[in-house]
């Protein structure tokens, strides 16, 4: 298969298959969580649960000072990676075009030079998290195959995207094909892995905030 053929497959059927696995997988996983349900709480609430839950969905994004001080690398690298990844995904002009073709929505992009920097920062943060997972006793103790796999499938689109953007290592069409394939790998792995936290964290934070909120505690 030539570079251009690979690119065409990746752009066409490949993306459709991966996209379908991703969308259906995520919906099924979230439905499976919600369908488990939970018992109605019969205790007399001090406050409602809905708003404290929603508040926690937002406020939990920022750690309290003591918690930040105890794990600074996890929080800093975590922020840099998540922001870098989201911004390059959503604000790189060719990505916007692709998303427009799917959603019909359009928004202004960021300059390529900034996208370039964001990708490097994001990759650096993932490498830092990888090394930290290797050497930090707690994180090493908690790590399983899924953690390493998630790191790998997340860094690949960033690395291939960066290389394609800068015309490095391989001809542009070849690298672009590998970039799209790596995204497809990410999409396919996503619903079956801890990457699901991208969506399920909203539920987790809401439940936590709602459970505490009805007791009158803002967590």
């Amino acid at each position: 298969m030539s570079g251009i053929e690979l690119l065409n497959w990746a752009r066409g059927p490949g993306l459709q298959i991966a996209g379908a696995v991703f969308v259906i997988g995520v919906i099924v996983r979230l439905a499976a969580i919600l369908l488990l349900g939970r018992k109605t709480d019969l205790s007399r609430p001090r406050e409602g649960a809905m708003w404290p839950g929603l508040r926690t969905v937002l406020t939990r994004s920022i750690p309290d000072a003591g918690t930040f001080r105890r794990s600074p690398l996890v929080f800093i690298a975590g922020y840099v990676f998540h922001l870098g990844f989201l911004l390059t995904l959503l604000f790189y002009a060719p990505h916007i075009l692709l998303l427009k073709s799917v959603t019909g929505l359009e928004w202004p992009g960021l300059p390529v030079s900034l996208i370039d920097v964001l990708a490097v920062l994001s990759i650096t943060a993932l490498v830092a998290l990888f090394i930290n997972r290797l050497i930090d006793p707690v994180r090493r103790h908690l790590s399983r195959c899924g953690d390493w796999l998630a790191l790998l499938v997340t860094v690949l689109p960033l690395v291939t995207g960066y290389l394609a953007l800068n015309r490095m290592l391989l001809p542009y069409t070849d690298m672009l094909a590998w970039h799209i394939l790596s995204v497809e790998l990410l999409l396919v792995v996503f619903p079956f892995s801890k990457l699901m936290h991208t969506f399920s964290f909203v539920l987790a934070r809401w439940y936590n905030g709602a459970i505490a909120g009805r007791k009158g505690v803002q967590v």
Partner: protein, 429 residues
């Protein structure tokens, strides 16, 4: 597979509801929770990472509810959780977790890890893997009515002592009183100043109250060991007595888990809302203060701080009341670092204090409290949980720290003004 193990695994499976599945699905193994747990911070042993304590239950979740788990099971490739694993995890689930809830406060994806441990204990008990000390306490509570084996006769004797101490009648089994006062076993047997203290405060404020000889024990070993059946039975005793006496309120005493058991879990355990309200004694005292019914005439001159009991504050929502009350009596009040909902546990909640095996670990973990207190130059440490009080006394002695520990009600009663009682005070008996 043994019958007990099967029952344990089935219970674990049944305990997985939508929040549990959302929590397991969201964990990214970031390890932040470790640094919120005093058993990790004081030992540095990664096995005490809160989410790691859930590992067998996570495997049950994965095998029963995830795509790969189900696939592996269908192909006969999955390895079920073994009895040995549950036995190995007993120390992590019981000795090194006080259900304090600090990890639930810091998890970046929002997991309520304490909620998870509470549910995991249901499976552990069903499988027969709970600490011996906690099992014994639970049996005593079910059979005799109290973890310390306090019988109704003992209660009557203690009430008589309290009458002598307070110089006031202690109402017992008075139908139609507004408030039914419960006590924790520690208050009945060890911190015996509390009942006379409350008797005097209630008398002065004109509170219509009573004790019950059928339901006097507020602690709930069922909640601590993780057996909903037993917890429900213990709550039901209180509900029955309260209904029989037709009280409007049941007072949850200065005992953290009693409050969680009665106020938050109770109606769910017995499957119906209460016909009365549950009020924490600190809430009631603060209400009396706000209504001008708590009259104090002196102040504590030494330096004071307040230790927040986890179940009352972080997991219970009674946060400002003790502070407003202390403001009435303390001339020199200081907050310790991380005070309020971020406070560190005494190390003995969640059944740990009933577990002799856990004593060395608990004392080691108490080093966190020592660090919080070092430099504050306290004369007195006030708290509002008899179990915390017991653990604080033990820990302070262990670390050779010269700080007096007092209960909130006891302290207030020491500064009570000698004034005319309220209209209804002490007339029921």
């Amino acid at each position: 597979m043994s019958g007990k193990l099967e029952r344990g695994l089935n219970t674990l499976k049944a305990q997985i509801d939508a929040p549990m599945a959302a929590f397991f699905s969201s964990c990214v193994h970031c390890g932040v929770c470790a640094h919120a747990c005093l058993f990790y911070t004081e030992t540095g042993d990664p096995k005490y990472t809160p989410i790691y304590k859930l590992e067998p239950m996570r495997r049950v979740w994965q095998q029963e509810y995830s795509f790969w788990g189900k696939l592996a099971r269908a192909l006969g490739l999955s390895k079920p959780v073994t009895d040995q694993e549950l036995a190995d995890w007993e120390e992590l689930v019981y000795d090194s977790c006080t259900l304090c809830g600090r990890c639930s406060l810091v998890c970046p994806v929002g997991n309520d890890i304490t909620y998870m441990i509470r549910r995991m204990r249901e499976g552990m008990v069903a499988a027969g893997h709970a600490p011996k000390g906690l099992k014994q306490v639970t049996v005593r509570t079910v059979e005799i009515g109290s973890p310390m084996g306090i019988t109704p006769e003992t209660l009557r004797k203690q009430a008589a002592h309290a009458e002598q101490d307070a110089g006031l009648p202690v109402p017992l089994d008075v139908a139609g009183a507004d408030y039914l006062l419960l006590l924790s076993a520690n208050e009945t047997m060890v911190f015996t100043d509390t009942l006379p203290a409350l008797t005097r405060i209630f008398h002065q404020a004109g509170v219509s109250w009573t004790l019950s000889s059928e339901a006097y024990e507020a602690t709930n070993a069922g909640i601590q060991i993780g057996s909903s059946d037993i917890a429900a039975e213990l709550v039901q005793r209180i509900v029955s007595a309260a209904e029989k006496l037709k009280v409007k309120y049941v007072i949850s005493p200065e005992c953290g888990h009693a409050y969680t058991a009665l106020r938050w879990e109770g109606p769910n355990l017995i499957g119906r809302p209460y016909p009365f309200e549950v009020i924490h004694v600190a809430e009631l005292l603060d209400q009396l203060r706000a209504e001008g019914r708590l009259k104090l005439d002196s102040r504590e001159t030494g330096r004071l701080s307040f230790h927040d009991p986890c179940q009352m504050v972080r997991r219970g929502g009674v946060i400002e009341q003790p502070r407003r009350l202390l403001d009435q009596v303390a001339e020199d009040f200081v907050e310790m670092p991380d005070a309020g909902i971020h406070n560190w546990c005494c190390g003995g909640g969640g059944g740990v204090s009933a577990n002799e095996r856990a004593v060395p670990l608990r004392r080691r973990a108490f080093h966190r409290k020592k660090e919080q207190l070092d430099g504050l130059q306290l004369t007195t440490l006030v708290t509002s949980c008899a179990n915390c009080r017991d653990m604080l006394e033990d820990g302070l002695e262990y670390y050779d720290m010269d700080i007096e520990v007092k209960g909130l009600a006891d302290l207030l009663a020491e500064h009570l003004a000698e004034s005319e009682p309220g209209a209804q005070g002490g007339e029921q008996s």
